[in-house]
Symmetry: C2
Subunit: 195 residues, 2 copies
DNA sequence: TTTAAATGTTGACAGTGTAAACTTTTCTGT
DNA sequence: ACAGAAAAGTTTACACTGTCAACATTTAAA
């Protein structure tokens, strides 16, 4: 059913890969189905055999970007295996860095309508996407180490995620102009909160 | 020079107004120069007599949206003239509410490349846009009332703005799913921080 | 009142997403 | 092994987009 040697090898995978390449080369505005098809050496309607429409291809690319974003955060945790506080600070930095270095990715993972939800319920916070779970885990460890009242864990986790997310977007979108090291800025901000 | 009764009255102004109408009706994806021109009852290239290109019209519309956003925040301040803490909480709520009620506006004020910068320097934080200055002022008043060390005012102000901004975007973009009242959520989060 | 500038229109062009009809390759059931 | 179905890709077509050049008309300036 889902075998892999047809006319063009695995075109589906190829479209996603070249989509990412195009995205990095021309940004979200220069992104088009037809260009991706051309990069794959295929007619401009071939993508429709694999994706319902442009949006669906973008959604798949977004999944790919989510994976590399999640792994950037996971790297931050691995950098300080025993220190949840430093994990959080490092994650904040990499969160910003990731979006600043590849601002096109931002449009794909946070701006497209194919949102990846974070569920907030009475009992806690869960997500379909690794990135948030990684962050959430470090937060939990930090709260335990700092003996924070469990009743406020949820609010505090959300607060930190919002804070990091907000600053990352402000910086990546150049709404926030800082003459100096952005890494220092976000570090100060997180230290400010965590102490 | 800049008079106002030509062939079509003041087309420039009319384009911005109808641009906003179209935006509300069809969202950012359905937005096109030609549709705006049609709404003004004018040929599809007429806008080029007033704007260099599509981007420039969007930029002007964004300015308009910024004004109403700023005034939404100013209203929050006026609602609690003597209580900076409640001002901040109310601003957080209206920040979220504004973007949730009109998610299309979000693309225009925060996502377009015509970013409105917030300047962060050694001495303090300043912005060309009213919205941030309003927020910044309340924050300053709160810090004084709460006797917070002036050395950390800058970080704390940025922290709060980032937090509110981040949550507003997560909620408006439906990255954050909360079964309940979002206003309560952001209120809890801010109270959590301000206490 | 003549002339220039400002404003608006028509027509064209390349690029876009997508649908329909068709062709070719591969898979499946007998 | 073969017939037919399904999958994958192509061609053609269409409506829509932003933008440019050439032209027309109205208004302002000399």
């Amino acid at each position: 059913m889902t075998s892999n040697t047809y006319h063009h090898g695995d075109l589906r995978k190829n479209l996603i890969e070249n989509g990412l390449v195009l995205l990095n080369k021309e940004g979200i505005d220069g992104f088009s189905l037809r260009k991706v098809a051309a990069l794959c050496g295929v007619s401009h309607t071939a993508p429709y055999r694999h994706f319902k429409n442009k949006e669906e291809l973008i959604h798949e690319i977004a999944q790919e970007v989510w994976r590399s974003f999640s792994s950037a955060l996971a790297d931050a945790v691995n950098a300080y295996p025993e220190n949840p506080k430093l994990q959080i600070i490092e994650m904040g930095k990499r969160y910003v860095q990731f979006l600043v270095e590849k601002p096109e990715y931002l449009s794909f993972i946070f701006m497209s309508d194919s949102a990846i939800p974070i569920q907030v319920s009475k009992t806690g916070i869960h997500s379909q996407v690794d990135a948030f779970n990684v962050f959430s885990e470090s937060a939990k460890n930090y709260f335990h180490a700092a003996s924070i009242d469990p009743a406020v864990h949820k609010e505090k986790t959300l607060l930190m995620w919002s804070m990091v997310h907000g600053m990352a977007l402000l910086v990546a979108k150049k709404n926030l102009i800082y003459q100096g090291d952005y890494m220092e800025l976000i570090e100060n901000m997180l230290v400010q909160y965590l102490d």
